[in-house]
């Protein structure tokens, strides 16, 4: 077989019945499968936790920490901010974590992780450190500690599980809550129901602005991409940041079975851009595969129900669409097929 037909064949085999979209694939070698496909995955966050049915955060955390454990040969410590992830895994005395794990406060995970990393260095240990928390613990109260950790380029991977609100305390707004979303503190009342437009912050971009070695966004809807990013991050020294979109059935008002679907649609409409940046520059973005209007994503969630009252779309649907369109342009989210 000459090279061109071999290449042609590989091109074809790439499709492999289901491409690489599924978790595993019986037709490829174990090495080509995801960490999650392995019967030997560490299950860093094991069963018996008290997360809601279909919790995207529980899923995202297992995806990320299992990949990090594989990448570090299980030599890993996690520091957790207060939030659902801490509360549903570790109501003393039980815990679901299968690795050394530390909890201090809501706002100081980045600083504690900095200290743990420094301690490893002092003790001459190779143990790596991950800090993790929710969007509230990251973008709001923990932001100062996080920015400091970036600025000092401490050897910590910080993972933010972004469910777009303070879910653990009853679904309040955070600075990562999207415009128009209803939360307990942005009720669907009055002339502008739900969260306001024009406020909040997108921490991944702020992290990029710190010029740290590695920043990425990811989603529970694309496991391969998520794992690749975590593994890549663990191969880098210094401050790193990954933010994972993790739908929350309770806070978003969605059926428990739609968790991955919602994460997928958030990417496919352009609302949640998935990209990578190194040393202050965006290097790659994940292309939209089957573009959808943002409406298809919003309408599945009760937190946006007020946008579709009486069978008419609220004009703010168009404003959200404009945000998606801007993301698509800014991050180059369309591939050759979609452009």
């Amino acid at each position: 077989m000459d090279d061109s037909t071999l290449a042609q064949q590989q091109q074809k085999l790439k499709y492999y019945q289901k491409g690489t979209f599924t978790v595993g694939n019986r037709l490829v070698s174990d090495a080509e499968r995801s960490v999650q496909a392995s019967a030997e995955r560490s299950n860093a966050l094991t069963s018996g936790h008290r997360a809601c049915q279909g919790c995207g955060e529980a899923l995202g955390a297992r995806y990320a920490i299992d990949a990090a454990m594989r990448a570090t040969g299980n030599d890993l410590i996690a520091v957790n901010a207060t939030g659902c992830l801490e509360v549903f895994t570790t109501p003393y005395p039980e815990t679901s974590w299968q690795l050394p794990w530390l909890h201090s406060l809501f706002g100081n995970a980045a600083a504690v992780a900095t200290g743990v990393a420094a301690a490893q260095r002092v003790k001459g240990k190779a143990t790596r450190v991950i800090a993790q928390g929710g969007d509230g613990g990251t973008t709001d109260i923990g932001f100062q500690c996080l920015s400091g950790m970036f600025e000092r380029n401490d050897d910590v991977l910080y993972i933010c599980y972004d469910n777009e609100g303070y879910m653990n305390t009853g679904v309040q707004r955070s600075s990562a809550t999207p415009p128009a979303a209803r939360t307990a503190t942005t009720p669907a009342l009055g002339p502008e129901p739900g969260n306001v437009f024009g406020t909040g912050k997108f921490v991944p971009k702020i992290a990029v602005a710190h010029g740290i070695p590695y920043v990425a966004t990811a989603t529970v809807a694309d496991l391969r991409d998520l794992e690749a990013k975590v593994i890549k991050a663990m191969g880098i020294r210094g401050a790193r940041y990954i933010q994972i979109n993790v739908p929350c059935p309770l806070g978003w008002g969605a059926p428990s079975y739609d968790t991955i679907k919602l994460a997928r649609l958030a990417v496919e409409c352009g609302l949640y851009p998935i990209f990578e940046a190194e040393h202050g520059r965006i290097t790659q973005s994940r292309k939209i595969r089957r573009r959808i209007p943002v409406r298809d994503y919003l309408i599945l969630q009760k937190r946006y129900a007020h946008l579709f009252r009486n069978g008419v779309d609220d004009p703010r649907v168009a404003r959200l669409q404009a945000i998606c369109d801007a993301h698509i342009e800014d991050y180059g989210l369309l591939g050759d097929d979609e452009a």
């Binding site: 018996g48 049915q53 279909g54 039980e94």
Partner: protein, 541 residues
């Protein structure tokens, strides 16, 4: 350990916390019926044999296929593949080329000399099969595999029925047919040629048969009354095609008119072209949309230069010419005469108007019932006469090779039960794996591999096979396009996506199990299973 106030568990793992108690719905692994399987007249487990082919285990694929159909190389050439029409993949890009992969497996089996497993035990029962067409061959194969002693009596000089004396060589090379028949005969099936059964009851008695399966096909050409002058040449399509198997080829002349709109008409016209006719014109009284022939066959014929005269009936045949009347479809879609006439030059006219069944061998058999010149059979393929079963073209159904093979299989299973004094109860069918059960997101984009066709120049002068097969890499690729509708293909999605880590992976080929101690019933696994192999069932609370 003593616990503090409000603390119930020891320090450490949460595994003591059985969150499965939260569940109101439980996921269950299920099998659903793939639409291809549901549509296959021979009842093949297409998804099942494709799954072996996907892994490159072609022999296992062929063995799984031939559990239901002993003629894959023939099927892969002549079957009209209703499986592909039903295939879910058509809703993503294009149907899986099931038929092409089937042919690939059939051809590989012939090349490698794979043989059927002989039965472990003989039943000692004797079954007569009348006719060595697809229905008879299929029944004989299944009966032989079930351990019965089978004797086929065939009126003609060679096996295959319409597969040999109807379907032209350029669609089904005879060495392919011969190889697949030989493999059935190698199971110990005795085929007597030139042995027309003219008195069924006498034959059963003489041979000491315990049961009989009739599959004599439909070979008597239907005639239409057409006023004809002297020295005109009017022939029957089935006779023309059958004579292609003899030493002398039929003389059709330079300009051949074929009358009819079915596949047989196309086969005759294409054969005439190959025999050297300058013109082969098909006269048909309706339109292309109403034509019973398949569109791909018409396309192939048109490419070869066959011409069509739509909305026309033959009024008169003279030496060297025919008169046709133009027709018009009425509101009900029925053709009505217009009174407009036209003359076409023609050296011969071939009638392809369908065939009737020769039922003379059944004279005097008590209990038989007939309808429209066909033998009536029950759901078990038994005729009104106890122990006498029938199928294929002689029984009411669609007339295709695949239906005939399916009849043969079904009859064999009921005959087997009959011989044991039992009744055969087919296993209950699974719920259909319709497209709505799939999560199409997970399938990669992959268009269908088209089978190469012989260049037109060679086709119209030779009887070489028109449609070529796939090579190994193409066949593998095509097999891997299958979505595995309704049946787990071990994608690990359920195992991966469960937020509660409540799916247990049992290992390659072993599938998965739910750990109901921890499954909260969120349904993410069901939603993200690409192929619909998980169902949510309400818990009894």
């Amino acid at each position: 350990m003593d616990h503090d106030f409000a603390i119930t568990l020891d320090v450490g793992t949460s595994l003591a916390n059985h969150t499965g108690a939260w569940r109101t719905f439980r996921p269950e692994y299920v099998h659903r019926l793939p639409p291809c399987n549901a549509a296959c007249p021979a009842g093949e487990d297409i998804q099942g044999w494709l799954s072996f082919a996907e892994a490159g285990d072609y022999e296992a694929a062929w063995r799984a296929l031939t559990k239901n159909n002993p003629l894959p190389a023939v099927m892969g050439r002549v079957c009209y593949h209703p499986c592909e029409t039903a295939c879910n993949r058509a809703q993503i890009d294009a149907a899986v080329g099931v038929n092409a992969v089937e042919r690939f497996l059939g051809d590989m089996a012939i090349a490698k000399g794979w043989a059927f497993e002989p039965p472990a035990q003989k039943s000692g029962k004797k079954v007569l099969v009348v006719g060595a067409g697809p229905a008879g061959l299929s029944a004989a194969y299944h009966l032989a595999v079930l351990g019965h002693d089978v004797n086929i009596r065939e009126a003609g000089p060679a096996p295959g029925g319409m597969m040999r004396f109807g379907i032209p060589k350029y669609r089904l090379p005879r060495d392919v047919l011969d190889a697949e028949v030989a493999r059935i005969a190698a199971l110990g099936v005795r085929i007597d040629y030139n042995s027309k059964v003219s008195d069924l009851q006498a034959t059963i008695k003489e041979g000491g048969f315990d049961a009989a399966f009739l599959a004599v096909g439909a070979h008597i050409a239907k005639r239409a009354y057409i006023p004809a002058g002297e020295a005109t040449k009017i022939l029957d399509a089935v006779q023309v095609l059958a004579s292609m198997e003899g030493a002398e080829q039929p003389l059709l002349g330079r300009r051949v008119v074929v009358y009819g709109g079915g596949n047989t008409a196309l086969d005759v016209a294409r054969t005439a072209k190959r025999l050297g006719a300058e013109e082969a014109i098909i006269v048909y009284r309706r339109t292309r949309e109403k034509m019973p022939a398949h569109d791909f066959e018409l396309e192939e014929a048109l490419e070869e230069g066959v011409m069509m005269k739509w909305l026309s009936t033959i009024k008169h045949v003279d030496a060297g010419a025919i008169t046709v009347e133009k027709m018009k479809l009425d509101e009900t879609g029925f053709p009505q005469p217009t009174g407009e006439f036209e003359t076409l030059e023609a050296d011969s006219v071939v009638l392809a108007l369908g065939q009737d069944v020769d039922l003379s061998l059944l004279d005097g058999v008590p209990g038989l019932e007939f309808a429209d010149g066909l033998v009536k059979v029950g759901p078990d393929m038994m005729t009104g006469a106890t122990g006498i079963f029938a199928g294929g073209d002689m029984a009411p159904s669609e007339r295709t090779v695949t239906v005939a093979v399916g009849h043969g299989k079904k009859a064999a299973r009921h005959i087997d039960a009959f011989l044991r004094g039992a009744a055969y109860a087919p296993p209950p069918k699974h719920e259909l794996a319709g497209f709505e059960h799939l999560n199409a997101w997970y399938y990669g984009e992959a268009p269908q591999t088209l089978r190469p066709t012989l260049e037109i120049a060679r086709r119209s002068s030779t009887f070489e096979e028109v449609v070529q097969g796939l090579d190994e890499s193409n066949a593998l690729y095509e097999a891997r396009r299958c979505l595995s509708c309704g049946n787990c293909f071990e994608c690990d999605n359920c195992y991966g996506v469960c937020p509660d880590n409540a799916v247990i992976k049992l290992g390659a080929g072993q599938g998965f199990r739910f750990n109901y101690d921890f499954c909260k019933g969120c349904g993410v696994c069901e939603a993200e299973c690409p192929c619909g192999a998980i169902a949510m069932a309400p818990e009894e609370i």
